[in-house]
Symmetry: C2
């Protein structure tokens, strides 16, 4: 099979053998934002046409390729959902040959007295495939998974089924405060190479865990600089700790349930430290799990065939 | 006396009679960001020179004119502080004639095990004068005052003394989310005249008061639009409710202590609604109170003279 991760900014693909092992990988800077609406098939054929020659070859694609701005919109599959449910909700762009993995939706309890908000939806697109891959890679059936990023996801998995999840705009709010807020005047320029500063990061996490809320604690980036209590070079890491710490505080994970962290090592290491300060053990998963997730979905197709 | 409010974007002044009544007012779009570092005296003389002719005339200036980017830096006066303390900490740019009112600082408890953050400072500049004016206008000696804005301030006053205060970056975070975040793509263009929408605002406040945290709840602006549950035109007000509601939830004001709201009517009305949903009665104060605040400080000078 061919496993494809087609996101906003990049396109990656892998040719997998019959055991899910990677035979070959390719990538291009052709995220969906760089492809015209009618250009997806051509880009696909250019990059993966030769891999598709065997008539029984199947390609599964995860990520924003299934959004309204993608190749075709793959409607969200409602939670709870497991690999089988997701395989049954694939959006086939070429029947039997090329399919898009749907994102997931779930509902949070909203306002009892407002029908429009009785339920408030949440969504993910791409992370569902990483979760399936992480479960396969670890053999876990029950877990809390955290996928940090622009919009972090916390997912609750029971019996290999994604029951519900919660999004946090953590990465994006950090960037907004870092680059566009009045705090940016206090902080060193973005292109200054900032050394890693675990201590300053942990100060931020601890401040966040004390409560007070990010709307308040973020202001301390300015005042600590104003009174020269903390050098400006240390404040970006402190701010990062405040924002990630706020996410951890709000989610208030149960220390009794182990957390699996899925994502880039630099980011999962931060979350591991922040969770440890909140008394929660978390284990980062090394390496990409998207291919493993697509392989799980493909296995469900084989079983149904 | 002459009362002056010299902020970031505007310069306003008033000539007051011996009872604090306003005889005349003037203003110019000459906030401190529009004045070169050595240009403050010339701007002052241009706009207020004739008012200063009586040899005993005194001008008091509040606002960012006392910041590092202002005429002269007026170091923050530590809390607790009342009108007398502030009068004693004036920064005289022309001895006996022209003075800058210092901002206030206070300390929040920080991290016991990190000397750099054992105390975390908070600051205001300009709001201290409004608070003194609001106390004079209402006759209150004990109150919680809320001054909404880019960086909202909640101040605790006992026996006419500002004991402590807390800043929230509410107005700024709203603007960042409204204009620069991924949510902005979901929301109508900024120049679309949005009709007031109390219901959508209150939905946002109620969602915020349920908890979950702004990092999470803000994401619902996107999902409610994605699933067409709430029309895009209603979402800016919903987002405003989420952000202001988060501030109210975090501050968790005691319903037994009445709240006095000081600021622009459009903004204080929002806070009044948000506080009501949290079970807190709040009273907006009509009109500007900066002249009344400067008058209180000037009275302290007279008493000391």
């Amino acid at each position: 099979m061919i496993a494809i991760d087609w996101g906003t900014s990049a396109l990656r693909g892998a040719l997998l053998d019959r055991q899910g092992g990677v035979l070959q990988e390719r990538s291009a800077p052709l995220g969906i934002l760089h492809v015209p609406p009618d250009g997806f098939e051509a880009v696909f054929n250019d990059l993966f046409g030769d891999w598709m020659r065997p008539p029984s070859q199947v390609a599964l694609m995860a990520g924003m390729v299934g959004s309204q701005q993608g190749w075709q919109e793959a409607p969200y599959c409602p939670c709870p959902a497991n690999a089988q449910d997701i395989a049954g909700a694939l959006r086939w762009v070429q029947p039997g040959r090329i399919a898009i993995v749907p994102g997931l939706s779930c509902q949070h309890a909203g306002l009892a007295d407002a029908p429009e908000l009785a339920q408030v939806p949440d969504v993910m697109r791409g992370e569902e495939t990483q979760i399936l891959g992480a479960l396969a890679a670890t053999g876990l059936k029950d877990a809390t998974l955290v996928l940090p990023g622009t919009h972090s996801k916390w997912a609750r998995v029971r019996a290999q089924r994604i029951e519900a999840f919660t999004s946090y705009m953590t990465g994006e709010v950090y960037q907004l405060l870092r680059q566009h807020s009045l705090l940016a005047r206090t902080l060193p320029p973005l292109d200054d190479a900032t050394a890693a500063d675990d201590e300053a990061f942990e100060w931020g996490v601890q401040r966040a865990l004390q409560g007070g809320g990010l709307l308040h604690t973020a202001f301390s980036v300015r005042t600590l600089s104003l009174f020269r209590q903390v050098p400006a070079q240390r404040l970006p890491e402190y701010l990062s700790g405040l924002v990630i710490g706020e996410e951890v505080r709000q989610h208030a994970p149960d220390p009794a349930t182990p957390v699996l962290l899925v994502g880039a090592p630099a980011l999962t290491a931060r979350y591991q430290r922040a969770l440890a300060l909140a008394g929660v053990q978390a284990r980062p998963l090394e390496g990409s799990v998207t291919w493993a997730g697509l392989w799980q979905i493909a296995r469900e197709l084989d079983m149904n065939a």
